[in-house]
Structures are given as structure tokens and as C-alpha cells.
């Protein structure tokens, strides 16, 4: 996949504080890229520079091959930006709102009519077409915001905290909607505090802290870097001596630590959790050796490292 966004040595200072510090980042076309980090990490500042709202102090950004500094108008043609706060015109209907933004992109009136109909269907608020924007719930406003960013058919969507402040149901719906939009071939870049959203949606992730991009890659790559071992969970029928099983497991190659684990699976299972270093082949051999030892295994699985742990490890130390 070709790079659609290139950020080189991007730096932004506000008075004495460096909000974004020499950030380098490449995002490939068609990716869903999640930018995560604590409040004040520099996510919003980076996004605002990306969408031509803020002038960088140093460095350069190319969006679709266009320089944000030299060619902001071309950049605006191919991006759709949704800020973290939903901007509404209270005195407009849903249709008028989209029609106004369509006109701001110089779309002809007839084309706007059919586009708005299709977009309202896409985000599933066609039934609220003639309602005033102010009367929509936050979740519906966010859907309308997504329809707005799609009005000129941009190839890149830049969404700042799209799920913030939404109830769990609305969050899931927005997540599904974003996946549907990604299937249309759009590149989506979004920031979020909600790590679960990022973990479920993103093809790659960037973690920011104190203005720096401290980690970037796919979730698997980040997991590998942040947590080098794999976590294996094994359950046995309760007819065995669990301490013997623990000793047997500890003696196998690749296993570093073995702990007793409660509350995994059924009440009458006995479970162990082990840290394992090795690839999939080694993992398969490990299972084979356990079976060879005739241990009554009923469950064998690898616990996927969650983004929360990756995030905590990636950002650890920088805050303090």
C-alpha cells in the first residue's frame, strides 16, 4: 500500500510548552490508524496541523502528495475533518446542514440533493432529514458529522475523538459505521482515549505522550515490542496434582514463569498461566509435549495482549 500521509519532524510549540515534538509518521492508504495517548499528549495538535488549521513550527506534512504548508487547499479537497467538539448550527435542519457544507465544497445543487439522500441512508438518519440539528441526540449528531465529512467524497477521514461522550450503544454503532466507511476504501485516522475502540478498529496504532510519538505499528507489532513474552493459559481436569503439572510445565523450553490461575473456565478445572517466548511452531510443540506427558488438558489458549497493557508499557516512565 502506498503512503497517503507523510509526517516528517513535525514540531509545534505553544509559548514554552512543546505540544508536538519531532514526530515522524507514515500512514498507508486504506488504513484505519488510531492515535492514542493521554490528555495533552499532542494528538489534537497533530491532527489540527494535518487538516491545515494550525501552522507547524518545524517539519512538514504531505497529504496525498500535497504539502500542508504550501498547498492547503488541495489538502482540504481530499480530507474530511471531524473535530472533537461537534459544531452545530441550531437554526438548520439536518438536510440544510449537509446542503450547506456540500455548497461549501462547490458541489452543484442537483448533485447535493441525491448525495444527501444517500449519505443520510448510509448513516441511518434519513428519518430525521427535516428535524432541526439541535434536537438530535449526541449519537445522532455524531452520525450527522460523519455524513458531513463524507459529503465531498474525501479519501481521508480525520476524526478527533469520534466516540467521546457517547453512550455504549452509540459507541458500538459509530464503530460499525467507521468499519463500513473503511470498507469503501477510505483511509481513517482517529484519536481516542478509549483503547477498546482503537483495538477493535485499527489496522495500526500510534501512541503519543508528551508530544512525542512513542510507539507506532500494528497492534501485534506493538504487543511484541512492549510485551516480548506470550501469555499461555492451560486448564486441566481436577484429577491431577496441579503442583506436579506446574513443575512439568516449568521444565519445558520457552517457559519462563508459571502461576496458578483461579477462575478460568469451569469450577472443577485447575488452571495455570505461563509466560512463553517462542513462535507459533514452538507453541505447537509445547502443546504436543504436554499431551505426550498425558496431562488431562481441557483448555489451551494464548491470551491476547490488550492494548491497555501495551499502552501502559509504551508510555511508562515518560510521564514521571
Amino acid at each position: 500500500m502506498s503512503a497517503i500521509i507523510e509526517i516528517r519532524q513535525l514540531t509545534k510549540r505553544f509559548a514554552r510548552r512543546t505540544a508536538v515534538d519531532r514526530v515522524n509518521l507514515t500512514i498507508a492508504s486504506g488504513e484505519i490508524f488510531g492515535l492514542v495517548g493521554p490528555n495533552g499528549a499532542g494528538k489534537t495538535t497533530t491532527m489540527r496541523m494535518l487538516v491545515t488549521l494550525l501552522q507547524p513550527d518545524h517539519g512538514e506534512i504531505w497529504v496525498g502528495g500535497h504539502s500542508v504548508r504550501k498547498d492547503p487547499r488541495q489538502v482540504r479537497r481530499i480530507i474530511g475533518f471531524m473535530p472533537d467538539s461537534f459544531g452545530v448550527y441550531g437554526d438548520m435542519t439536518v438536510y440544510e446542514y449537509l446542503d450547506f457544507f456540500g455548497a461549501c465544497y462547490h458541489l452543484p445543487p442537483l448533485q447535493r440533493q441525491s448525495l444527501i439522500k444517500d449519505l443520510l441512508e448510509l448513516v441511518d438518519i434519513g428519518h430525521r432529514r427535516d428535524d432541526m440539528v439541535d434536537t438530535l441526540s449526541r449519537g445522532l449528531k455524531q452520525r450527522l458529522g460523519l455524513a458531513r465529512v463524507l459529503i465531498h467524497d474525501p479519501s481521508i477521514l480525520i476524526l478527533d475523538e469520534p466516540a467521546s461522550g457517547l453512550d455504549p450503544r452509540a459507541r458500538v454503532e459509530i464503530r460499525e459505521l467507521l468499519l463500513e466507511i473503511a470498507h469503501l476504501g477510505k483511509t481513517i485516522i482517529f484519536s481516542s482515549h478509549i483503547l477498546a475502540d482503537v483495538a477493535e478498529l485499527c489496522t495500526s496504532v500510534g501512541i503519543m505522550e508528551s508530544g512525542k510519538l512513542v510507539a507506532v505499528g500494528t497492534l501485534d507489532e506493538l504487543s511484541e515490542k512492549a510485551v516480548p513474552h506470550r501469555l499461555i493459559q492451560i486448564s486441566f481436569l481436577d484429577q491431577i496434582d496441579i503442583e506436579n503439572a506446574q513443575a512439568a510445565l516449568s521444565s519445558l523450553p520457552g517457559i519462563s514463569q508459571v502461576r496458578l490461575k483461579d477462575g478460568l473456565g469451569k469450577a472443577d478445572w485447575l488452571s495455570l498461566e505461563a509466560e512463553f517466548i517462542g513462535d507459533d511452531e514452538a507453541l505447537s510443540q509445547l502443546l504436543g509435549k504436554l499431551v505426550e506427558q498425558r496431562l488431562p488438558i481441557v483448555h489451551f489458549s494464548e491470551e491476547t495482549q490488550n492494548l491497555e497493557e501495551v499502552f501502559m508499557r509504551a508510555t511508562r516512565g515518560i510521564v514521571s
Partner: protein, 322 residues
């Protein structure tokens, strides 16, 4: 699903560019109507009750003043059927309505535009607009155009009330045209003043306060003029003194840049000298100096200032945050 007619992601950019060129070929008036901001603002303004209430209060005030003046003039029985008195009454009514309109427009206009850009910032829609292809010029001119359209409505709806003066006579076509031009220029200027403060301030309230403070400040010039005139009338310069010329011109400019003084002096010159464009030795009489009628200076000065403020406002809206 996404509409099929949208094509590949980069196609619309090309079609939008050609749309832009087509728009550039259009007549300026059609282009103004194509401005999405004008349509949005006018729709929003006329949708609420506020616009109609303001219009009613505006016309009600003007009508009330006319009734008061009419009664004051015709309450004196001896004047009722005298043609020259009727003409004077016509002029007084016409002049009062124009001065009242000037006053009302000066106060309504900045109120319409002081929140034009700051409200977008407060509503957090400013960033949305700045990431579209809407140019800063379209945004500023759209806001200005919609506010001015509403003020034009106020000026036009006051015409039937003003026409009472025409029944009495004494008001010529020249006065009508000059007053119309002055009202329109005043409306444009004060709209631009509000927009100017709105373009660089963060919140609507300080922008509104600053606009009105600027207006009050300019009205204070009026008081200054009276003091200056009183002072110089009591001072002798000797004939053809350069200093007298300079002071005459300076005071003339001060008079001409105040809406009320400019309107009154233009009328005085029209009545005294039967001249719409030029006047001779208007102030002290000891020197012979031909000057343009105040309304001409007024129109040129405020149109020039309006143009400069529009350019600065566009620049303020255009520049990215730093």
C-alpha cells in the same frame, strides 16, 4: 452504501476545480447568490421571530417620530395651509426620518455582524468551515452580504413612511438620492465595523462591546467639532492665512465623517447654495475656498474604510492559527 455517483476519491477534486472555474465566469451578482453563507444566514435570520420584531420596532419608532413632528408642526393652526410652511414641514419630516434611520442603522448594523465570526468560533463551526473549500473571502462577504440585505430591507420598508414628506412637498430628487446613498453607505460601513471586530476577537461579547465603543467614540467627534467651531469662530487669522485653510479643511473633514453632521450640512448647503456637489467657504467666510459637499467626502471616506476593513477581516479569517 456510498453513492455511486461519487466516483473515486480524487475525481471530485477535479470536478470541484472545474466548478470553481465555472463559478468564476458567472456574473458577480449570480456569484453572490451562489455564496452558501448568504443563503444560510438569511434563512437562519428570517426563520426566527427576532428579525420581524426588530423590523416592527424599527418602523414603529420611525412612525412614532413622524406623528410627533407632524403634530408639532401642524399643531400651530396658522401654519396649516401656508404652502411654504408645508414645504418646511416636509423637509423637517424627511430630515428627521433620515437622521433617525442613520442612528438606528448605526446601532443595529454592528449588532448583526459583531457575532458573525466569533459565533462560529463559539459554536465550534469555524474549524469545520476552514477545512472546506469555502474561501475566507466568501465567508466574510457572505456574512456581510446577509447582514446588509437585512438592513436594506429596513431602509426599503421605511420608504412608505418617509413618503409622507413627499405629500407635503419641499423634498427634491437630489435629497432623496443623497440620503439613500448615505443610508446605504452607513449600513455597509457599520456592518463591516462589527465584522471587523468579530474577525480577530475570540468571543462575541467583547466584539460587540468594541464595535459599539468605536461607534460611541466616533460620535464623540461630533462634540469635538462643536468645540472647534466655537473656538475658531472667536479667533481671527487674517485673510488667506494658510493656517486658516488647513483648519477649515480639517474641520470640514471632521464634519463630513460624522453621519449626522454630514447629512445636516449637505442639506444646509443644498438649501442655501442650491448645490449638491460643491460649496464655497463653508465655515468662516473670510477666505474663498471651494470644497466638496460633506456627503461626497462621507461616502468616499466610509467606502474606503469599509474596503480596508474587509481586506483585514479576510486576512484575519484566512490565516491559520499560530
Amino acid at each position: 452504501m456510498i453513492p455511486e455517483n461519487q466516483g473515486t476519491p480524487l475525481e471530485p477534486a477535479a470536478s470541484m476545480a472545474s466548478d470553481g472555474k465555472a463559478a468564476a465566469r458567472k456574473h458577480p451578482f449570480r456569484r453572490a447568490l451562489d455564496n452558501p453563507v448568504i443563503l444560510k444566514e438569511l434563512r437562519g435570520r428570517m426563520r426566527g421571530r427576532q428579525a420581524f420584531i426588530l423590523l416592527t420596532v424599527y418602523l414603529g419608532l420611525i412612525a412614532l417620530f413622524i406623528v410627533l413632528i407632524y403634530n408639532a408642526v401642524f399643531g400651530v393652526e396658522s401654519l396649516t395651509w401656508d404652502p411654504s410652511s408645508r414645504q418646511i414641514a416636509g423637509k423637517v419630516i424627511f430630515g428627521t426620518v433620515v437622521l433617525l434611520e442613520l442612528l438606528l442603522l448605526s446601532f443595529i448594523a454592528p449588532g448583526l455582524t459583531a457575532g458573525a465570526i466569533t459565533a462560529e468560533r463559539e459554536r465550534q463551526t469555524f474549524d469545520l468551515l476552514r477545512t472546506t473549500l469555502l474561501s475566507a473571502r466568501s465567508l466574510v462577504l457572505g456574512k456581510l452580504g446577509s447582514a446588509f440585505s437585512y438592513l436594506l430591507l429596513l431602509i426599503l420598508t421605511a420608504l412608505p413612511i418617509q413618503s409622507l414628506a413627499f405629500l407635503l412637498g419641499g423634498v427634491g430628487l437630489g435629497e432623496l438620492v443623497v440620503s439613500g446613498v448615505m443610508l446605504v453607505v452607513t449600513a455597509i460601513f457599520f456592518c463591516t465595523l462589527g465584522l471587523f471586530f468579530s474577525s480577530f476577537m475570540k468571543r462575541t461579547l467583547p466584539a460587540t462591546v468594541s464595535s459599539y465603543a468605536a461607534i460611541l467614540g466616533s460620535f464623540l467627534v461630533l462634540i469635538m467639532i462643536f468645540f472647534l467651531i466655537a473656538y475658531f469662530e472667536s479667533t481671527s487669522f487674517g485673510s488667506n492665512s494658510v493656517r486658516e485653510y488647513m483648519l477649515t479643511v480639517a474641520i470640514w473633514v471632521l464634519i463630513s465623517t460624522n453621519p449626522f453632521m454630514a447629512a445636516v450640512m449637505s442639506e444646509v448647503i443644498l438649501v442655501d447654495e442650491q448645490s449638491l456637489f460643491l460649496t464655497n467657504s463653508p465655515l468662516f467666510g473670510s477666505s474663498s475656498l471651494t470644497l466638496p459637499s460633506p456627503w461626497i467626502i462621507y461616502v468616499l471616506f466610509y467606502l474606503g474604510l469599509t474596503f480596508i476593513m474587509i481586506i483585514i477581516s479576510i486576512y484575519n479569517v484566512k490565516r491559520p492559527d499560530r
